[in-house]
């Protein structure tokens, strides 16, 4: 492999080449993967996009001008169209972006029905205004049973990135109750990503344990584990989710639901990775270093954890990235049909629940704004995962 590496740099001075060669040989697996990953422009771009969206999710409270729950609603602007800030209108231009104020109006010309209409008054954007209060680092888990309840007060903040001097600004419009779709979307990204993360972590631990044990011990343990894996893999997961999710009592709190959904996602999502881990360990367990570890008195758990799994890390990480969007999509699908998360929590599925009605489709197209955003996030994940998979594959080196 070093030969191909040098051929690529024929003009480089000898010292430089040997330094590079040395760097190549002393590089860790992770550094090598990263070096190969950096060459893929599409994947790098996707990683950048993904980073931006994850940041949007993490800083959702700061970025969103209004509380995404019913508390932050704008009762005077329900089903309102998106308001885009602009610099110019009939009265000339200004350096500060502004939107036009809206007012509720009823008169003879509208048949005495309430309508919302735009006025000519400008409403200038302000930056870093004080708004609704949010807490950073606050955790309040209220799970069934007392042992797992956790409550941290966190630190209160009330600064937001932007707002308007008076009244409201709705970049993506508002929904039927007047909640700001922009704020909801940002929070939805955060919730969907966290459900996915939790689900992936659970699936991941299960896969490592089951795959590891199955591969390391072989024999009848392997047969039993494989039968179980196959059985779980054959059951169609969404119907199974539905069966389980349907039995979530209505009175469970939003957090409990959240944990339950993540748990189900994790409990059904492990077989593919478990199979891969098992195949790898089965092939690897007769290697000399495993024998050495065993002779040195290492327990099976220790051998699997410290010696066998690390030789497989890159694939495991790639698998994580690839399976992540599926978790997120499953959550969305579940919430969409009303079995997953419910209203005070914002997730994409929750936001899409109302969209199937024809009048909504026709009259309020801005309900769809979250959809392309979400598709972009999943696409970014797929691209990053794909790039990582190529980078982790040592065969790539030879091409």
């Amino acid at each position: 492999m070093i030969a191909t590496d040098m051929q690529g740099e024929p003009a480089a001075p000898v010292a430089e080449a040997s330094r590079r060669g040395e760097a190549y040989f002393t590089a860790s697996q992770g550094q090598l993967i990263f070096a190969r990953f950096k060459k893929k422009r599409a994947a790098i771009f996707a990683a950048f996009v993904l980073g931006v969206f994850v940041a949007c999710g993490v800083f959702a409270p700061f970025l969103s001008p209004y509380d995404p729950t019913i508390a932050g609603r704008n009762a005077d602007y329900t089903n309102g169209a998106p308001q885009l800030p602009r610099f110019c209108d009939a009265n000339g231009c200004s350096l500060r972006p502004f939107i036009h104020k809206v007012e509720r109006y009823r008169g003879a010309d509208t048949n005495f029905r309430w309508v919302t209409r735009q006025t000519g008054t400008r409403d200038y954007l302000t930056f870093l205004p004080r708004g609704w209060e949010y807490r950073v680092g606050a955790i309040s888990w209220d799970l069934p049973g007392e042992t797992f309840d956790l409550s941290l007060p966190g630190i209160a903040f009330d600064r937001h990135l932007f707002g308007v001097e008076t009244g409201f600004i709705h970049l993506f419009g508002t929904d039927a109750t007047g909640k700001d779709i922009f704020s909801r979307t940002l929070h939805a990204i955060w919730v969907s990503l966290s459900v996915g993360t939790l689900g992936v972590l659970i699936a991941f631990s299960l896969a490592l344990v089951i795959g590891g044990v199955s591969g390391y011990f072989g024999g009848w343990i392997d047969t039993v584990c494989q039968a179980l894996t196959d059985a779980v893999r054959t059951v169609p997961t969404i119907p199974l989710f539905m069966a389980l999710a349907a039995f979530i009592p209505q009175e469970w709190s939003a957090e409990t639901r959240f944990f339950f959904i993540s748990m189900i996602l994790g409990l059904v999502g492990w077989p593919t990775l478990a199979r891969r881990v098992r195949t790898h360990i089965l092939a690897e367990r007769t290697a000399d270093y495993v024998l050495a570890a065993r002779l040195a008195g290492a327990s099976p758990a220790h051998t699997i954890r410290r010696h066998l799994l690390p030789s497989f890390t890159s694939y495991i990480i790639v698998d994580l990235v690839i399976s992540f969007p599926y978790m997120v999509l499953s959550e969305t699908a579940l919430s969409f049909i009303g079995l997953g998360l419910k209203d005070p929590v914002n997730s994409l599925g929750v936001m899409l629940q109302n969209v199937t009605r024809v009048d909504v489709l026709l009259n309020y197209p801005w309900y769809f704004i979250p959809v392309p955003i979400f598709v972009v996030i999943v696409l970014a994940f797929v691209f990053v995962g794909d790039g990582l998979r190529d980078a982790a594959d040592p065969h790539e080196e030879r091409r």
Binding site: V235, P239, L240, M242, A243, A246, P325, L352, L361, V378
Partner: protein
């Protein structure tokens, strides 16, 4: 021949074992759910104005056999399913589950299998084409489309199609039958009516599966098409589509045939949700109803079991087919 019979027998045995295990998983999960069937039924009765006591619940439990140990009840259920195809009585509706499921399950299965066939009809030729034109504009375009297939789940596509059709044609294209045939008995006209509408759900269901399968076919063929035996065949004067089909395509499609069962799984996954979007009251939403609205454990269990059984059956069949058509697999058996 004897080896082949033995192979079929072991495969059949494994399929049965998987089904048994699945039935155990499904049964246990249904059992974990708080509240049993008797309580729910009695609760329903109490809303009808009857006064219910604790003793009534116990009596009902004994009548339903819910007081017997878990394993015994699972055994009874499995025995009924395997010997008589009897799934018991629906918890809520008080009718035979078979009667409730009826032709709805067959209709759903038909739609899913049609989507599966469509998937392969598109994915295999297009995937092969894409692999032979690797790197070109066609290939790149396809790659982007198939990434979209991963990122735009079927239910979002269904929503998009609904939006477009509503805006363009003022017709939502929803439902499997037009109004006059919905409750009519089966007839030629009803079948024709179904045919005029069913293509949309089939196409939507095939969308993601096709996207994923396209990638697989392309990757498999790309690995295979530059191998030495292909060059050798070319040197002998075989070329074009004939070369492709006789050697690398045939070789590389084994894993694709093998994964038919899991593609069916993928399509089943999407069915209830797509059905909810397109309001296919006749097919997938039975699932949704059984699972979500009425909390009917018996019905839900039966449906999930039937879905899984179809997948297991398909897996079994593909194993056999693969052994028959692929000499390498056959050699492995003997």
């Amino acid at each position: 021949m004897a080896a082949f019979v033995r192979f079929i027998a072991t495969r059949a045995g494994m399929a049965l074992l998987t089904l048994l295990l699945v039935s155990f998983i499904v049964f246990s999960l249904m059992e974990l759910v708080p509240g049993n069937c008797a309580e729910r039924y009695i609760a329903y009765k109490s809303t009808q104005g009857q006064i219910i006591t604790e003793a009534d619940i116990r009596a009902e439990e004994i009548r339903m056999g819910l007081d017997r140990p878990f394993l015994e009840r699972w055994g009874g259920w499995v025995w009924g399913v395997f010997t008589r195809g009897d799934f018991g009585e629906s918890c809520l509706w008080r009718v035979e589950v078979n009667q409730l499921i009826g032709d709805k399950f067959l209709l759903s299965l038909g739609i899913c299998v049609a989507a599966l066939v469509l998937t392969y009809l598109i994915a295999i030729p297009v995937g092969i084409l894409s692999a032979t034109m690797r790197g070109g504009a066609f290939d790149t375009g396809l790659r982007i489309v198939s990434y979209l297939g991963l990122a735009l789940p079927n239910f979002l596509l269904a929503l998009g199609v609904m939006l477009a059709s509503t805006v363009l044609f003022q017709d939502t294209l929803a439902g499997l039958f037009s109004a006059q045939y919905r409750d009519a008995p089966w007839s030629l006209d009803k079948v024709l009516d179904l045919m005029s509408r069913v293509w949309l759900p089939i196409g939507i269901l095939a969308w993601s599966a096709t996207a994923i399968q396209l990638q697989t076919v392309r990757a498999l063929l790309s690995d295979e098409k530059d191998k030495l035996y292909v060059t050798a065949a070319r040197a002998r004067g075989v070329s074009g589509a004939r070369l492709l089909w006789r050697y690398p395509a045939r070789h590389s499609l084994g894993p694709v045939v093998n994964s038919i069962g899991f593609d069916l799984n993928r399509i089943f996954n999407d069915l209830p949700i797509v059905a909810a979007v397109l309001t296919l009251t006749e097919a997938g939403s039975l699932l949704l109803d059984a699972l979500a609205r009425s909390n009917d454990q018996q019905l839900a269990g039966a449906i999930i079991f039937l879905l899984t059984a179809s997948i297991v059956a398909v897996n079994f069949l593909t194993d056999i087919v693969l052994a028959v058509i692929d000499p390498r697999v056959r050699a492995g058996l003997m």
